[in-house]
């Protein structure tokens, strides 16, 4: 039987003060799924980084541009997608913040945070323009249904239909 699968979809204007709202809503959903406090803290940080990047680097803090956040549960994972309306970027151009010459740079740690606190992170371009970052976290309390164990290419399926029926 499928376990509870809250589907959350939120759209915000590009303002940093909205990040708390996203974190509260996602945190509540993950708590109901049984994710422990520590894990929720780190997932929350990763989501904050994704949304902050979308606001700052994607939408250039244009309050008229939207950041869309979705949470879906599938294949024993929490899948969070954050999309912006920006011009995109090349992730390969992002500096490694652990390199000695970058250690004292004040910027450039957002993606590093996400990589550390999530199990998977993937960047792609949205068909309608903008960037989509997909974050995945395994949740032990969420079982994998028989239907979900069918052969799949896993990560590459992330942009598809796990979030079909939406609410809130």
């Amino acid at each position: 039987m499928p376990v509870e699968e809250p589907q959350v979809r939120i759209s915000i204007g590009s303002r940093f003060e909205h990040i708390d709202l996203i974190q509260v809503v996602v945190d509540d959903a993950l708590e109901r799924l049984g994710l422990d406090d520590d894990s929720r803290h780190w997932v929350g940080i990763a989501i904050r980084e994704a949304v902050a990047n979308a606001i700052k680097h994607g939408n250039r803090q244009d309050p008229d541009k939207q950041v869309e956040v979705e949470l879906a549960i599938a294949r024993g994972q929490a899948i969070i997608r954050v999309g912006d309306e920006g011009e995109g970027f090349d992730i390969h151009e992002v500096r490694d913040p652990l390199e000695p010459e970058n250690l004292l740079r004040p910027n450039g740690r957002g993606i590093f945070y996400m990589k550390n606190f999530m199990d998977e992170i993937e960047y792609s371009s949205r068909p309608e323009g903008g960037t989509l970052v997909t974050l995945r976290k395994h949740i032990a309390s969420v079982g994998v249904t028989e239907a979900e164990t069918a052969p799949t290419d896993g990560a590459s399926a992330s942009g598809s239909r796990a979030d079909g029926d939406s609410s809130s």
Binding site: F16, E17, K56, N107, R109, Y113
Partner: protein
């Protein structure tokens, strides 16, 4: 996010409480450090015991503060790190940059 500032033995002690995150806490930290430096502070001790969350912007502000204070021949040191802040400093390898203390007394003595 609130930051209280006090002085002990010639050291400015900043006590941020809550989230040091983008758009709010990071700005407050930047302003508090700038204010302290403008007031003549040379050495700053950041007591992070009340910090609940620090994102990459917050860490960036700590790094900026460290650089600003160092450029004035002063030192920025950290005390009372919550475990999650310690984790972040270790992951980012900044734990090797900052001098970190477990008590304010020990930290203040290190400036002498």
């Amino acid at each position: 996010m609130k930051i209280e500032a006090r002085h002990e033995r010639g050291i400015t002690i900043l006590e941020p409480r809550g989230k040091i995150t983008i758009g709010v806490g990071d700005v407050a930290l930047r302003e508090a450090v700038a204010e302290a430096l403008e007031a003549g502070a040379r050495n700053i001790l950041a007591d992070l015991g009340g910090v609940t969350t620090i994102d990459s912007s917050g860490i960036g502000e700590l790094v900026s503060a460290y650089t600003s204070v160092s450029n004035r021949q002063g030192k920025l040191k950290l005390v009372n790190l919550p475990p999650k802040v310690t984790d972040i400093l270790q992951i980012t390898q900044l734990i090797s940059v900052f001098e970190v203390f477990e008590s304010v007394e020990e930290a203040l003595a290190s400036f002498e």
